[in-house]
Amino acid sequence: MTCPHAHVTPMRVLTVSAGLSLLLALSVVAAVSFGSSEIGPAAAWRAITGGPGAEEAGAAIVWRLRLPRALLAAISGASLSLGGLVFQALLRNPLAEPYILGISGGSAIGAITGILLGLAHFPGVSLFAFAGALATLGLILAMSAGRSLFQRDALLLSGVMVNAFCAALIMFLLTLSQDGRLHSILFWLMGNLGPIGFGQLGLLAALVVPCFAAIFLLAHPMNLMLLGRELAASSGVPVRVVTIALLVAASLMVSVTVSHCGLVGFVGLVVPHLLRMRLGSDHRLLVPACILGGGAFVVVCDLLARVLPEQGEMPAGVITAMIGAPLFMYLLRRSRP
């Protein structure tokens, strides 16, 4: 096996980031161009550059529907991928991922509770989602800690159980409520990147971008902590502070993302692993790569979810799970001795 272990320099981080930014931009242009009504890249580009007031046919579709949706997909993909990367590093477990660990499920319960209580999306529902994420995180850490701290199987099993419990609780809440919005909530659960306004997009970005920055600042300590907590501490890393900062940042960005786009599963598994194969395990490179590459991945998955069905569309989570679940099984099999 050859390993892509070229030395990570600021220059290499910039080069890789530039390449992936281009990929992300292309995927957004594609997402804006294709759909139930064909607009085409050229017209889409004119509509984007022409501004929201452009008279061009299709400008309304681009500006009201597709562009916000593509940007939501990009932000969701970025934070879910980065969430996966952070949990894999902290728990030193290649199978850790917000969805598999049940953290997405916990956020969803929080978000649904907020919706059923009739709260505004921000800050009410987002806060409930964050609380749900922290509660599940605390639960799985408490369940898997103790004698065999963060041991692989204990952690995965806890996650599976928390996930099952969350799914049951969600159905329980939905059935009790007899809410007219039942169908839309169910759809949202499978990862629906529905309509969103630029105002909400701005709020979402304002919450997740500082998390991205904080995690990038902690990229080198994450490398060291992969070697072992005691070794990291003996190299000058304040392990406890870094761990808490990473857990809070990752939970915050995952929960606000889930409260917008529902359960888009496995993104945090697929993207970091693909990137690690190409780029190596250094987080100073993987953090920006996950943000940009993860964004592009979900934008493309959502595009497929829109164009594949003859009529209507399917949730983006269907596509990400169809790619991610087989990869999970492959990784699980390969990681056994």
Partner: protein
């Protein structure tokens, strides 16, 4: 001269389980210091107390004349480096990537290495003789080579004191000797203090300048290998009779287990 490590009346307990009791020790700068004792005698805990990853519940510990509490974390990391028992990280890193991580306490905010840091890492890799394998993933190396990588990583920290937790435990005879010779050479060339936890008394006797024999968290004996490795002390600590004679090639003790 200021000792590298000075501990007075150290006590440490996990919960109500006392692990180190009333232990005082002094490690002079430049010593090759072996901590020996049976399983559960508190060797690794002592190492952690020196490293500062555990704080004693009673007693004081000073490193290079300054109490551990008086150091900032990165400052301490530039003086003390740890060689762990050796494990392979879940994600693959190349040898040089791991060794460069030893520069951590010398790096700036974003943790990118300057040319000088890359140089230091290359020198550390050369010092343990792994130049040819620098770009290979750690998991493709043999156990002995991996142990040398962890030593190089610690060297790269440019410490004055290196702590090792059973560095030869998982190695065959040839590699054990190789690692010990490497440590002896590094100590000599860099005037570094080496503190090592070991189960292999014969190997420790050949290389250590000073020894500390622990039992149930208390000192049984401390001194040169000749002074410590005596049948009476070994019986106290390990509960078994040994024959002690002289190594045929040098003036250090050799232990042999009796047939009956």
């Amino acid at each position: 001269m200021i000792p590298a490590v000075a501990g007075t009346d150290l006590s440490f307990a996990y919960g109500r389980q006392a692990v180190i009791e009333n232990l005082s020790l002094e490690i002079a700068e430049g010593d090759f210091f072996a901590v020996i004792g049976p399983n559960g005698s508190g060797k690794t805990t002592l190492l952690r107390l020196i490293l500062g990853s555990l704080a004693p519940q009673a007693g004081d510990i000073a490193v290079f004349g300054r109490p551990l509490a008086g150091y900032r974390r990165r400052e301490l990391a530039r003086r003390i480096a740890l060689v762990p028992q050796g494990s392979v990280p879940v994600f693959s890193f190349a040898v040089e990537e791991i060794v460069r991580m030893g520069r951590a306490p010398h790096l700036g905010l974003l943790g990118f290495e300057a040319a000088e840091d890359v140089d230091q890492a290359a020198r550390a890799i050369a010092a343990v003789g792994l130049d040819a394998l620098a770009r290979r993933p750690l998991d493709q190396l043999s156990g002995g080579e991996q142990q040398r990588v962890w030593i190089a990583r610690a060297l790269c920290q440019q410490p004055r004191l290196m702590l090792l937790d059973e560095p030869t435990a998982a190695l065959d005879m040839g590699h054990q000797l190789q690692i010990m010779r490497l440590l002896a050479r590094l100590r000599r060339e860099r005037r570094m203090t080496v503190v090592m936890v070991s189960h292999d008394l014969n190997l420790a006797a050949m290389f250590a300048t000073r020894m500390l024999l622990l039992n149930n968290g208390r000192m049984v004996c401390s001194g040169t290998p000749k002074e410590v490795l005596q049948p009476a002390h070994i019986r106290t600590a390990y509960g078994c009779q040994v024959l002690v004679d002289r190594h045929p090639q040098g003036d250090f003790p050799r232990l042999t287990l009796p047939v009956r």
